[in-house]
Amino acid sequence: MTDEPLLRVSALSKFYGSRVGCENVTFDLWPGEVLAVVGESGSGKTTLLNCLSTRLLPSSGTASYRMRDGQFRELYRMSEAERRFLMRTDWGFVHQNPADGLRMTVSAGANVGERLMAVGDRHYGKIRATAVDWLSRVEIDEDRIDDEPRAFSGGMRQRLQIARNLVTGPRLVFMDEPTGGLDVSVQARLLDLLRGLVTDLGLAAIVVTHDLAVARLLSQRMMVMKDGRVVESGLTDRVLDDPRAPYTQLLVSSILQV
């Protein structure tokens, strides 16, 4: 691994008027590392994720990202054009609800190909071949390539959304509850797939989830949030097996044992 982080976040805060979205969040993310952000709903996980992915501008604090040329760039000082370019090339964003991240009225192939066309790919045959390749990597049959995502099950839609995000070979992927709303067997397969892809591609990822099992499976490191603040962070196994903050202890002990 390289000796420099991919993303440096320092004292990031977001206020909605007088209400706190997230407050004073500081961490580094290293290449190839998966960081889970856990906490109950309303704890500021999604606000944090939206700030990091520049979908929201924070009230204060900085985040700098190491571009492909090795230079750190301050995210909130980049122009909108640069941010949007980053968003569709070097980054991915997997939404909880696939309908938010997919174009529901165009075919699966075009959904995967859109990013390629956005960065200037103009060869139909090559775009289609790449789409076929990515559909097979996320276990969607090739003959579904011309179907609209509307005709897909929830799990397939989520896998399609992942393919659509990974097609340009991003280095950092943001995931907002990637397994939310899926039944457990589908969740298990999706997690398996994600784990494989993250390892194969050396992706760094920030995964927001309220599901501690997802965090344990996917992430090496985790942050526990409560009321907009980070109450505990550390290696996933350490935090889950030996929770120190009272809130984390409560969270871990709240998992239903089957």
Binding site: R84, V106, A110, G113, E114, R115, M117, R122, Y124, D146
Partner: protein, 299 residues
């Protein structure tokens, strides 16, 4: 008392014309960019060419010769009414001959006769935003234009090829202007797209309901979007015009009876009549050429 005494020249008041001319100038300065303007109520319903009429009214002068076509024809309701409108409110000469006109207002065709320097082609545009059916939010499409994010436009063409094996868009075929803005050429058949490229005439587009004006100055690069392995192609026809035997022109299918009889004739009526006057005969042409009034002089 004459009819025109109750109107300002060319119907619109001078302040309105000034405002529209400003929008036109801005449009010319930024080829392909949609300039918002304060579209006025016109004495015709939206969708009948209110945008084109306002543009024409703002640029027309007493010496201009106006031609109005609707799908290539000079004699359809829309074309006849708009021609009569300007004859009445601006007292200008009107014509059906492409070569003699200084301003040609058009609904969905570009005349077959090549346009020359000094002519102005005014398009009536129903929906100026090429990205509209791909991205419904106007705030977002404006941002996409501003940031030159046009990947989505190719998604539409990709879908065409995936579904039909070729690019099936036949009209309102998106073009890129001067390597910058993606523009909707109004619902002209894609057959006419190559005529826009480096045309010596000034081309103005007015969308009345959508309140947008855009423009192509003379000799502007207009490139139809395509894929490397599915290049842009225009429509071709198996047979020549049934009346004037013209080839390589855009043809309309005309149903002749209810037993499946049909013929293909030039959509550009002026072009077709000109050719018949010159003695060209198609296989369904009547024996004696039609005598048609060509230029109606100013009153």
């Amino acid at each position: 008392m004459t009819d025109i005494a109750t109107y300002n020249f060319a119907y619109l008041d001078e302040q309105t014309k000034r405002m529209i001319r400003r929008a036109i100038l801005k449009g010319i300065a930024i080829p392909g960019y949609q300039v918002p303007f304060a579209s006025r109520e016109m004495p015709m319903p939206y969708g009948w060419g209110t945008g084109g009429v306002q543009v024409t009214a703002s640029i027309i002068g007493p010496d201009d010769v106006l031609k109005v076509i609707d799908q290539g024809a000079d004699d359809t309701t829309n074309a006849v009414s708009i021609r009569a409108f300007f004859k009445k409110v601006a007292n200008v000469a009107v014509t059906t001959e492409t070569a003699k006109a200084t301003i040609i207002q058009t609904r969905h065709r570009i005349p077959e006769h090549p346009l020359t320097s000094g002519q102005v082609l005014v398009y009536q545009v129903p929906i100026p935003e090429p990205l509209r059916f791909l991205e419904p939010r106007e705030t977002e499409t404006r941002k996409m234009h501003a940031l030159e994010e046009y990947g989505l436009m190719h998604v539409k063409l990709y879908e065409d090829i995936a579904r039909h094996g070729r690019i099936a868009t036949t009209y309102a075929y998106p073009v890129k202007v001067e390597g910058r803005y993606v523009m909707d050429p109004s619902p002209t058949p894609k057959f006419d797209n190559p005529k826009m490229h480096r045309s010596p005439a000034l081309q103005l587009f007015g969308a009345g309901r959508e309140k947008r004006i855009y423009a192509l100055p003379p000799f502007t690069d207009v490139v139809s979007l395509d894929f490397e392995d599915h290049p842009f192609e225009v429509q071709t026809f198996d047979q020549p015009c049934a009346l004037c035997a013209a080839e390589n022109v855009y043809l309309d299918e005309v149903i002749l009876d209810d037993h499946g009889g049909h013929m293909f004739v030039c959509s550009d009526t002026d072009h077709c009549e000109k050719r018949r006057e010159q003695g060209h005969r198609g296989h369904l042409a009547p024996e004696t050429p039609l005598a048609l009034e060509k230029t109606e002089p100013a009153q």
